[in-house]
Structure formats: structure tokens, C-alpha cells
Amino acid sequence: MKILVIEDDPVIAGNLKILLADHGYLVDLTDTGSKGIENAVVNDYDAILLDWMLPDMEGNEVCKEIRARDIKSPVIFLTAKNQVEDKVTGLDVGADDYVTKPFVIEELLARIRVQIRRNYKSDLTSEIRVGAIMIDTAKCEIFVNDNLLELPPKLYSLLEFMAVKKDTVVSRQDIIEHLWDENADVMSNVVDVHIKNLRRRLSSGGLKHVIKTVKGRGYMLCSD
């Protein structure tokens, strides 16, 4: 999952990147509102964390602009402004949630998960079930037929991404956009290699043919 962090405080931004990356998120950092809008237009982010006081514009203006450009990514304000009227303003301009600083990372992660679930109209809890697969997104753990299946972070992210979009075709382009940063080569077979590895891991857990290849379009994680 790919998250955009629009935060001008380099210390907070850097720490967020480390903490989010540890939970399998790919993080893009920007320190101004205008660069943030630019990034949000170009990439399809699974969530956007937005500070309020930015050097060039205020966070609510950034949020308004993002919505005006028809960007549907969930926006979560991450700001020290804690007045009720600020929260109301933030939510009214199109933000999906509001977290005040100083924040506890567990809470922030939970709120990000909620927004991602809602965005993909996925399961209502932090557990995603796809047939015999159960993913605990809070703990970043995967169970196949109730047995823990350990996966490297990238494969975990790939499975989680396909699980939130279960029974729908996910294109290679989609996977690249959500799981790889801007330096990834879209023309390479990096996605196919990771899908092959994931299939192999799932087979070793007793699951075969749960990831189907849809010719010319992409891959699909099937619940049957």
C-alpha cells in the first residue's frame, strides 16, 4: 500500500516513513502543499497524511484542491491543531479522518487501515478473509487454514493488496503503483516474479490456484 505524507517537519516526516514502512507501507514524502497535490494527481495513493501548517498553503486548501481534482484517495489530517472548529473545517473540505499530534503510531496505523478498507469496500475489521486465507492487517500476519504463513514484507504487501481487491482483476500497473515507488521500472517483469513467488509460498501452505492469471489484464485473488 502506498501512502503520501505531506509534512514540512523533516523529523516527523522521516520518523513517519520509518514507522509506516515497518508496517509494509510504501511512503512518499513531500514538504509543501503544491508538491503534495502534484504527487496525488500523478499517483494513486491508498492514503494521504496531511499536515495543516505548510509553508506554501494551508492543509485545508490542499485537501480542497485534491478533492477538486477528483482524487478519491482517503485523506487523513495529521496536525497539532486540535480545536473543534479546525477538525470540522478539515472534515468538511473532504478529509476522511483527523489525527492530532503528538500521535501514537498504533492509532494512526489503525485509522489508515480503516480508510483503506473503506476505500476498497473491503472487510469491516482488520481481518481480511479470502477463502482459506486470513490476513490480520493489524499484526501483519497471514494464516492459511489457520496455520501461520510467514512472508517477506513485499510478498505480504502484494497479498494484502490483492486481498482487499479480492475477486477482482488487478492489473500489473495497479500493483506497481501501489507497491513500488516511482523508481520502479513499469516495463520490467518485477510483478510477475513476485506473483510467481507468492503462488509458490501459498502452494507450500496447501493453497493452489488461488491467484488466477487473467490474460492481457492482470491477476485475481479468488475466494473460491
Partner: protein, 455 residues
């Protein structure tokens, strides 16, 4: 209460009117009696050396016919105070006085005979319900008083008129008192309604409903209207103060939370690394230094906020300060900073010493923040015996300074230049409290901060 006051006023006015009316009427009667007595003595009485003799007027009228025509009565007394002629009432009724009145009357007659000065004998009761006014007038021959004439006139009509007037006025007073008491009360209630509304509003006003205004009633020049308007204006000023205070608290909490958020997130990262057993000693030391710096920043914000609060609470005593030596002393705390001090040692300003130290500290820190190293300069401009202290610095290349936002507390501008936005706000407050104004200008690549004496 208003009704009662009105009633008293009506009674006083009516009383004054009646007294005036009575005195005027009495005066008229007395004038008439005087002229009547003078006429009798001049036209009808002659002293022949031993006794008083009657005579007719030149036109032929007798004393009786003259008195009758004028509706007056008279008694003529000789030098022995024996009545020698009774006319009108006195002719018809011989015993006109009660015993005690008779003594009083005789005393007056003797006094007139002795002194030769006329005397009025007011409203003597002769018969029940019938009052008269009398004048005891001396009959003289040369310098000698040879007798006394008593002229009397009935005052019954005048008294009746007065009595009727009293009755009418009493009725009017009673009616007025009634109207005042009930109607006046209602009118007063209506008239005082706006004030009552205002009082009620004042009683109900709290921080929560301070935005609700009183609707001024009546004419715009009415006192109650103006009072309501002024009350609304006062509420606006109070509300403005509350909003500013809330804004300050909100901004302050924001500034307190930023270093706190940095420290907390850094500690989260340290915790993560410890959990993953990926701790590198040098990284950990760097992280701890970063957390320490955040906590120092936090303390600095709190310190500045407390100072700002103290400035508003205390009266700061001023004294004559040697600007140049104080600047040198303050700059010793910044050993790496090179500067030029062109301020003469003789320049003295009146300022609170502690405030001046804080002002110089903040101005120097701002100048360092925005300026090129080594370009810091202090000088004075003398404007009509009012020294203007200027701190000049060459602006760092590429740095854009919005001078309009420099004095805003916790402005985002300050956040992005490395401060927390209280320093210049504190300087402004301290300068104003000491009668100075702080100006910031950007001219020809120079960042200029000046302290100008206001009066």
C-alpha cells in the same frame, strides 16, 4: 416610586399656586382698605380743635353713602377711643368681637393712636363663617393723632373662591395621585422596559452566549438605546479578547505539540529499532540528541509564553540605560557573532532593564536568523532628541521575509524560519510597555529592526 414623586411634585405646585393666589387676593383687599381709609379721613372727617366732625364730600356724598358704594364698613373713634360713628356692619351689630378678640382689638387701637401707624387686623371673626379684613387707620391733625378709623371689608367671597379652588385642586391632586400611582407605574414600567431588558441580558450574559446582542429599543438618541448599543459594543470587545485568548491558547498548544510530536515519533522509531534488534549505537545517540533538542525547544516555548504572560501582569519600572554597554554585554553571550556597534556610550534611554535585555536578545537572534554572518550592525539615528536604535543585517541570499507576518504569534512564517513565533511578539509588547515602537524593514538587501520612541 415614580408615581409618588409625581404626586409630591403636583402637591407642591398646587400649594405654591394657592399660596400665591391667597397672598395676591389679600394684598388687593388691603390696598382697597387703605385707599378707603384715606378717602374717609380726607373727605369726610375734620378736626375742629376739640373733636372730630363729619362732613360731606365736595360732590355731596356722605360717609355712609361712600362706604355703601364701596361695600365697606367703618367705625370712627375719637382720641379717647370711644366710637363716635358706626357704619355698615358696625352699625347693625354692636357686639362684633368675642372677649379675647375685643382685648386684642383694643390693644391695636391704642397702638395706632399712640404711634400713628396704620395696622391691619387680619380676618377677624365677627360672625361664624363670615370673615373680615380690617384696617385701623389714624386720624391726624397736623402731627397729632386725634382718633382712629377702622375700615372693614368682607373677605368671604374671596375665601369662598379660595375654598372652591382648594377643593378643585384637592380633587385634581387626588386624581393625579391615583393616575400617577397606577397609570404612572404602568407608564414607568413601559418606559423602563429597555433598561429592564438590558439588566436581564447583563445578568444572563456568559462566555457561552456572549455573541447574543441586545436589540436597542426606542429612538437612537434615547439613553436606553445608547446604553444598549454601548453594551453591545462592550460585548464585542470582550468577545474579541476571548477569541484572541483562545487563538493564543490554540497556537500555543500547537507550538507545544510540534516538538512533542517530534520527540514521541522519534521514541517510537527507537522503540521499533530496539524491538527489531537493529540498534546502531551512533543512530541511537543521534536520535537521543534529537529528542533532547525537541524537549529543549518545548521548554523554550513554555519560557517565552510565561514571559509574555508576566509582561501583561506586572508594572515594569523604567530607568536610564546605557544602550551601548548593554548591547555589548548581551552580545558576549553569542561569542561566534561578529558585529559593529556604532552607538555612542553617551546614548541613554529610559527602559525597564530586564525588558531591554529580552528585547536585545530577541532582536539579535532574529537578526542572526535572517542575516549574513558578520553583517550585524548597531547604530542610532537621532530624531528630535528621540534616539532611534537600529539593528541592521544583510539578508541571507534567497531568503524571503514577509515583514507583515513577523509580529504574528506562532505564524507559519516563523515556523519555517526556525523559530516558534513568540520572540518578536514579546519584543513588540515590551517595547510598547516602555513607550517604544518596533519597526521591521527590508531595504536594499538589508534587514532593519528599529526601536523608535513614541513620544
Amino acid at each position: 416610586m415614580v408615581g409618588l414623586v409625581n404626586t409630591v411634585i403636583i402637591i407642591l405646585v398646587a400649594g405654591s399656586f394657592l399660596s400665591g393666589y391667597y397672598l395676591l387676593g389679600l394684598n388687593q383687599i388691603r390696598s382697597k382698605l387703605t385707599s378707603e381709609a384715606e378717602e374717609i379721613v380726607r373727605n369726610h372727617l375734620v378736626y375742629d380743635g376739640s373733636r372730630i366732625v363729619y362732613r360731606q364730600r365736595d360732590e355731596g356724598q356722605s360717609i355712609r353713602s361712600d362706604l355703601y358704594t364701596d361695600g365697606a364698613s367703618a367705625v370712627i373713634y375719637n382720641a379717647g377711643l370711644e366710637p363716635i360713628g358706626n357704619f355698615g356692619l358696625f352699625e347693625l351689630q354692636q357686639e362684633i368681637f368675642s372677649n379675647d378678640k375685643k382685648r386684642e382689638y383694643s390693644g391695636l387701637l391704642s397702638m395706632v393712636l399712640e404711634t400713628g401707624a396704620p395696622k391691619f387686623y387680619s380676618v377677624v371673626e365677627i360672625e361664624k363663617n363670615n370673615n373680615y379684613e380690617m384696617l385701623l387707620y389714624p386720624i391726624t391733625s397736623g402731627q397729632k393723632v386725634v382718633g382712629v378709623v377702622c375700615v372693614a371689608n368682607q373677605v368671604g367671597f374671596f375665601q369662598d373662591l379660595l375654598q372652591i379652588s382648594v377643593y378643585i385642586l384637592l380633587t385634581v391632586i387626588a386624581a393625579a395621585a391615583f393616575i400617577n400611582f397606577f397609570l404612572g407605574g404602568i407608564i414607568a414600567k413601559i418606559a423602563y422596559k429597555p433598561l429592564e431588558n438590558l439588566r436581564e441580558k447583563m445578568h444572563q450574559t456568559t462566555i457561552q452566549n456572549i455573541n447574543e446582542k441586545v436589540i436597542p429599543e426606542g429612538h437612537p438618541t434615547d439613553d436606553s438605546y445608547l446604553l444598549a448599543k454601548n453594551f453591545n459594543e462592550m460585548l464585542e470587545r470582550v468577545n474579541e479578547g476571548i477569541i484572541k485568548q483562545r487563538q493564543f491558547i490554540s497556537n500555543a498548544s500547537h507550538e507545544l505539540k510540534s516538538p512533542l510530536a517530534r520527540a514521541v515519533s522519534r521514541l517510537e522509531v527507537i522503540g521499533l529499532r530496539l524491538h527489531k534488534k537493529k540498534v546502531v549505537k551512533s543512530d541511537l545517540e543521534k536520535d537521543l540528541v534529537s529528542v533532547k533538542q525537541d524537549l529543549v525547544d518545548l521548554a523554550s516555548v513554555i519560557e517565552d509564553m510565561l514571559l509574555l504572560s508576566r509582561i501583561r501582569e506586572q508594572a515594569l519600572p523604567q530607568e536610564g540605560l546605557k544602550v551601548s554597554s548593554l548591547i555589548r554585554k548581551e552580545l558576549k553571550k553569542y561569542p561566534g557573532i561578529k558585529y559593529t556597534n556604532k552607538i555612542d556610550d553617551s546614548v541613554i534611554i529610559r527602559f525597564n532593564k530586564e525588558s531591554f535585555r529580552v528585547v536585545i536578545k530577541n532582536l539579535v537572534e532574529n537578526a542572526i536568523k535572517y542575516g549574513v554572518k558578520g553583517s550585524l550592525e548597531f547604530y542610532t539615528l537621532d530624531q528630535s532628541n528621540r534616539p532611534k536604535i537600529v539593528i541592521s543585517n544583510r539578508i541571507k541570499s534567497g531568503l524571503k521575509i514577509d515583514t507583515t507576518k513577523l509580529f504574528e504569534r506562532f505564524s507559519s512564517h516563523s515556523k519555517h524560519t526556525g523559530g516558534h513565533g513568540l520572540g518578536l511578539s514579546i519584543v513588540k509588547s515590551l517595547a510598547e510597555d516602555n513607550g517604544y515602537e518596533v519597526r521591521v524593514d527590508v531595504k536594499g538587501g538589508l534587514f532593519l529592526i528599529s526601536l523608535n520612541r513614541l513620544t
